[in-house]
Amino acid sequence: MDEPIEESLFEAPPEGEQERMVEAILFATAEPISVAELNARMPHGAEAAVALETLRKRYEGRGVAVVKVGDGWAMRTAPDLGFLMQKETFETRKLSRAAIETLAIVAYHQPVTRAEIEEIRGVGVSRGTVDQLLELEWIRFGRRRMTPGRPVTFIVTPGFLDHFGLETARDLPGLKELRASGLLENRPPPGGDVEDDDGPTDDEQTDMFDEGDSDET
């Protein structure tokens, strides 16, 4: 068992073999798997990124596809064949309207504090709503905001991206338009309110959004 690994210290396996290896690993794993992890599992000298690209092309138009999820890669059935899979479908718990809206706000405004979510929705966010999203592993705690009280922030997870077939959070539907129209800005109410303090500036927010992606490496 050690041999292939030791041999490889001298020579990487041929490209065709590398592609087979990536194929086998992706097939065997339900969770998205990063290029770094692929490289770690493959013999020394292998370049998973190259093999992945060939593999992705090979599966184009097939019944399963190689998809990118955040920083990871996974194989998923083609969405147009979902109707064959009724047996596999398991009813996801119905999310409340509050939960769905909260999820969207986290996705588009991340990293976002609870106070900011409440400000956008105009109502309090119940503990249960946040818990449900945390439990689904669609949102998680991000960094604390460096403002008085150091409130925690929420960001979406790779699991969220995986579930909704998004490569990165930048691919959220309508994100660009929303940004362009200024609706993702944290605009403090006129007259200098307390909320000034716990809202990030636009720059910070944009940075964090982008960083959120690289965070997942």
Binding site: F27, A28, T29, A30, E31, A74, M75, R76, T77, A78, P79, G82, M85, E88, T89, F90, T92, R97, A98, I100, E101, L103, A104, I105, A107, Y108, I120, R121, G122, V123, D162, H163, F164, G165, L166, L172, P173, G174, L178, S181, L183, R187, P189, P190, G191
Partner: protein, 262 residues
Amino acid sequence: MSEEQFELSPMPVEDRLAAEALIVDVDGFEGPLDLLLVLSRTQKVDLRKISVLQLAEQYLKFVDKVKKLRIELAADYLVMAAWLAFLKSRLLLPPDPSDEGPSGEELAAHLAFQLERLQAMRESAARIMARDQLGRDFFARGIPEDVTRVRRVTYTATLLDLMQAYARTRTKDEFRPYTMDRDRILTLEQALDRMRGLIGFAGDWTDLSSYLPEGWEVDPAMRRSATAATFAASLELAKSGAIELRQGEVFSPIEIRKKTHG
């Protein structure tokens, strides 16, 4: 009861029914902002062109109506009503130059922004939920294979470990009580004596902490004393040219080795 409202914005029958349903449904609203958003739809204009003044009036009428029907309104609805009444007066009265607060227009613009933002988030939420979903429209591997974890452990020991272990077994009987009887302070002289004997075997860089005498490593007070004395002794020995000292960076382990001559 709501003729005024009809004058303001003549409502078709279905809208009127909707407005009545609003009252019945008052608990179903997710707060005043949600209610405002629903009311704003009766204006049939782009949210960006909405008349906040008109909206404020709609809201205040709604609240009045609900009060007449003796339906208890939650406090935040009443707070919003008070605020909108204030906003309305600001919008209607000519601006007072001595007033420092934000203008009515600014406040109205912000409210419009809030409504537009909430609406945008609702639409975005709907668009997210309308996407193909894992486990519903596309699927992951049904039989994931387990990855077996192979743990390879390398054991290490130094020559000093070995010698100390041997010394421990050879001196077991007399050794333990010996340290116990001792005062809990290791003197510089004791440390120096000990180091002088040991240093002959320290050809390689060795962590200074491995020179602590047996039995002094666990108790914090004893360990402190032994560490201080051993460190002082190693400085002495370095000064006399018997050993070399090094430390990779601040707070990293101090290492010593025998100074080779020639």
